[in-house]
């Protein structure tokens, strides 16, 4: 090793680099620091052996401990599920009324229902359950088949117009236009009457009113208040599932509407369906 210049004042070696007459001292590092540095290298080697570390072409070294972050996730999910078993069992065996009476079960059911909703229901009802054309808004107080906890539970369990389920909610409004039960003028007249019901300006003597009384009142009620036992929507309120303009109403009468909701009893377990019912019921429109 060549002898390096020594700084006169400190007596310490310099690196030999010089900037405008200023030279850099080469003060030695303490040895313990060097040892620490070697220890970190040793640590990294041990780490590379124990844990997944080195990328290969299609995969990477797996490490002898068999660790993977995905495995960690699976483990923690299993742990969480295990922790939930007690509550889930309780939900399974309790009645809906008993569940909402117990604050702990209630909040667990709501949270579980929310999670299940995000996976199974948002595709039609939207992430905030606000619905869309043909898919009911679940936040409001307008229910086709009833807004009590049991009603909602039954609807989720068996669906609506879901042929594979014998207990499904079934309403079968005739397609008055397509099946030629009413002609074009009659449909227009009854559509006008239906719209006037929700505006509060219904004229009982109009020809539309007569057609309504003959053809529609048996399900939708004489005042158009609807009938939840047969899934006939209220026509005298401000909520329209498909739209409240005349063209849409005519279309509904002409073709009828046959939206389908699947029966979830075949896909989800008992406790999840109960949780879903409790969650939907808690959105602000649930009835006692």
């Amino acid at each position: 090793m060549t002898k390096r210049p020594i700084d006169e004042i400190t007596g310490t070696e310099t690196t030999g680099h010089e900037w405008d007459g200023i030279r850099e001292l080469d003060t030695p590092m303490p040895r313990w620091w060097l040892i620490t540095f070697y220890l970190t290298i040793a640590w990294s080697i041990v780490y590379c052996v124990l844990y997944p570390a080195i990328p290969l072409i299609n995969t990477n070294t797996q490490g002898t401990l068999g660790y993977s972050s995905r495995g960690e996730l699976t483990k923690s999910l299993e742990k969480a599920r295990e922790a939930q078993t007690g509550l889930r069992e309780k939900i399974k065996s309790s009645s809906l009324a008993a569940i909402i009476a117990d604050p702990q079960l209630f909040s667990f059911a709501k949270a579980g229902g929310k999670a299940a909703f995000k996976v199974n229901c948002v595709q039609c009802h939207g992430s905030g359950a606000e619905g869309s054309v043909g898919n009911p808004n679940l936040n409001d107080d307008d229910w086709l088949w009833g807004g009590k906890l049991e009603d909602i539970h039954l609807t989720i369990k068996h669906g609506a117009r879901y042929e594979q389920d014998d207990d499904t909610r079934l309403s079968d409004m005739p397609a008055f236009g397509k099946d030629e039960l009413l002609d074009k003028t009659q449909i227009e007249q009854v559509a006008d009457y239906v719209l006037s019901l929700s505006k509060g300006s219904a004229d009982a003597s109009s020809s539309g009113a007569k057609i309504f009384a003959e053809q529609c009142a048996s399900c939708h009620g004489e005042t158009g208040a609807g009938d939840r036992s047969v899934g006939a929507p209220a026509l005298n309120d401000q909520i329209w599932l498909y739209g409240g303009d005349k063209k849409t109403v005519i279309e509904s009468i002409h073709n009828s509407r046959k939206a389908v909701m699947p029966a979830w009893a075949h896909r989800l377990d008992v406790e999840t369906i109960k949780q879903l019912a409790i969650y939907v019921h808690s959105l602000g429109g649930g009835e006692k």
Partner: protein
């Protein structure tokens, strides 16, 4: 001129003396010698006070009533509360701690600009605990010479016994240091009991373990290495000092040329040999816990603990010279004295723009925090409007908005509060948790607020179809606690349209 005195000459060299050193030098072990003097007295005092504060604080009690812990200083991480005597802080009030840290930073700058590295020399935990470890070492193995001798001696029963005793006592100190720390985070008396019954949470044991290890290693082995190589502060403080900051100064104009064998020179009857006051006994070097020679001038390693001043003063007294050959002096005082000019008193150094600005910032932060603390409300209401859906149209055409309202009762007392809203005539609200009751605009609804908890309410506000506003309307949620005269209004918005 000089009395014949018995001043021991020490054969020692500063650890940072230059020379052609090898890369990655082995650390030279330092054997600081015991020294007496006024600064040593001051250091004993500060060491006792700071250690006492550290160990005793968690055991102080402070009555806060039945709904809050009675520990005077408690960082309750599990329940997210911080208690400091009469102050209770919730997580969202953490800015007080940030303010304290800012004050600590500015305070450190202020102290540094006036008294130099007083923090390093007297109060830094590293300094205090190293001092404590040195006391133990000295009590067991003896003073400097005995320790050097012991280290050089071959292994024997006596050596083993002394070393084992020392490390045992060190470990006891280290464990009680780590042990005291955890008492700041839980009820000290009950944690103390459960700790020894091995029923305390794992984090308590791991914290004690880690702090025991760091105390033992830093206090027993790393010592000055921590200051010189690990701590950033010595490097920052170079920028904080100026010519009016107090530093430990060797007054070389008085001391040089140092003369080790002045008796011989005196006997030689050779007055032509110039002699400074420094008798080159190296006592200032052997007492230095950093192992440096202050006579080389101000250095990165110097923590200004002033033990070399004590050492030198005792020697000067013995040889009958005025003390203060090594002294606390500013660079300005040193320059003036070296040039033979009268030295001004060092009190005015407090009043210069730099220290005044630091003090002003420090006071400003402190006073504004005090003001905020004194006027803060112990009731808070946060309102979150539902975003999905933003509005809900009901079957009768009215519009409903949903809100999550969080009422924070930050006092450890149960309160009867009244909750209402105003600014939406004809509107009504329903509190989901309180049942089906409809509450009109301006009507006060009575709520019970549990002590020291956040109460979350789901609230639906509905405007009837015939009174719907044309556009989004601002209104207010009002929370009141008559007992403590708290009145809190939180603005909110009622939306009528989807966007």
């Amino acid at each position: 001129m000089t009395k014949p005195t018995q001043i021991e000459q020490f054969n020692v060299q500063a650890v940072n003396k230059g020379g052609a050193k090898k890369l990655f030098a082995a650390t030279k072990k330092i054997y600081p010698k015991r020294v007496e003097g006024k600064f040593r007295q001051l250091k004993w005092l500060i060491m006792t006070v700071t250690l006492a504060i550290y160990y005793i604080t968690p055991w102080l009690r402070w009555d806060r009533g039945e709904f809050a812990p009675d520990q005077a200083v408690l960082v309750d991480l599990a329940n997210r509360r911080f208690y400091f005597f009469f102050i209770e802080i919730w997580p969202q009030e953490f800015f007080y701690v940030a303010g304290l840290l800012i004050m600590a930073g500015i305070g450190l700058f202020l102290i540094t600009s006036v008294w130099g590295r007083a923090w390093c020399g007297y109060t830094c935990p590293q300094t205090v605990w190293v001092d404590l470890f040195l006391v133990i070492e000295r009590a067991i193995e003896g003073d400097r010479n005995a320790r050097i001798k012991l280290d050089k001696a071959p292994m024997s029963f006596t050596k083993l016994r002394l070393k084992a005793t020392k490390h045992f006592v060190w470990l006891l100190v280290a464990i009680s240091t780590g042990g005291a720390w955890i008492f700041y985070f839980a009820d000290a008396p009950s944690l103390f009991v459960s700790f020894f019954k091995f029923e305390a949470p794992f984090v308590a044991y791991s914290t004690v373990g880690i702090l025991t290890a760091t105390t033992y290693i830093f206090g027993g082995f790393m010592r000055e290495q921590v200051c010189t190589y690990m701590c950033p502060w010595p490097r920052i403080q170079a920028a904080m000092l100026d010519e009016e900051s107090l530093v430990v100064t060797y007054n070389d104009y008085r001391g040089e040329p140092r003369t080790a064998h002045r008796k011989k020179h005196a006997n030689d009857d050779a007055p032509q040999v110039p002699m400074g006051d420094c008798i080159d006994c190296n006592k200032c070097v052997v007492v230095c816990p950093m192992g440096i020679d202050i006579r080389d001038g101000q250095q990165l390693e110097c923590i200004t603990c002033a033990l070399c001043i004590d050492a030198c003063d005792s020697v000067m007294e013995k040889v009958g010279k005025p003390t203060g050959l090594i002294s606390y002096a500013t660079l300005k005082e040193y320059n003036d004295a070296a040039a033979g000019k009268p030295v001004e008193n060092s009190v005015p150094i407090l009043f210069r723009p730099r220290t005044l600005i630091y003090s002003a910032i420090w006071c400003l932060v402190g006073l504004s925090m005090l003001f905020v603390l004194a006027t803060r409300s112990r009731l808070d209401v946060n309102v979150l409007h539902d975003r999905n859906p933003l509005i809900v149209k009901l079957s009768d055409g009215s519009i409903r908005n949903g809100y999550t309202v969080k009422i924070l009762n930050m006092e450890p007392k149960r309160h009867t509060a009244f909750f209402s809203f105003k600014g939406l005539p004809k509107g009504y609200m329903r509190i989901e948790q309180e049942g089906a009751k409809l509450i009109k605009n301006g009507e006060r609804y009575q709520l019970t607020l549990e002590p020291d908890v956040l109460r979350e309410l789901k609230i639906y506000v509905t405007m009837p179809r015939s009174f719907l506003p044309q556009s989004d309307q601002s209104f207010k949620f009002v929370a009141e606690i008559p007992a403590s005269e708290e009145h809190h209004e939180t603005p909110a918005k009622f939306h009528v349209k989807k966007y």
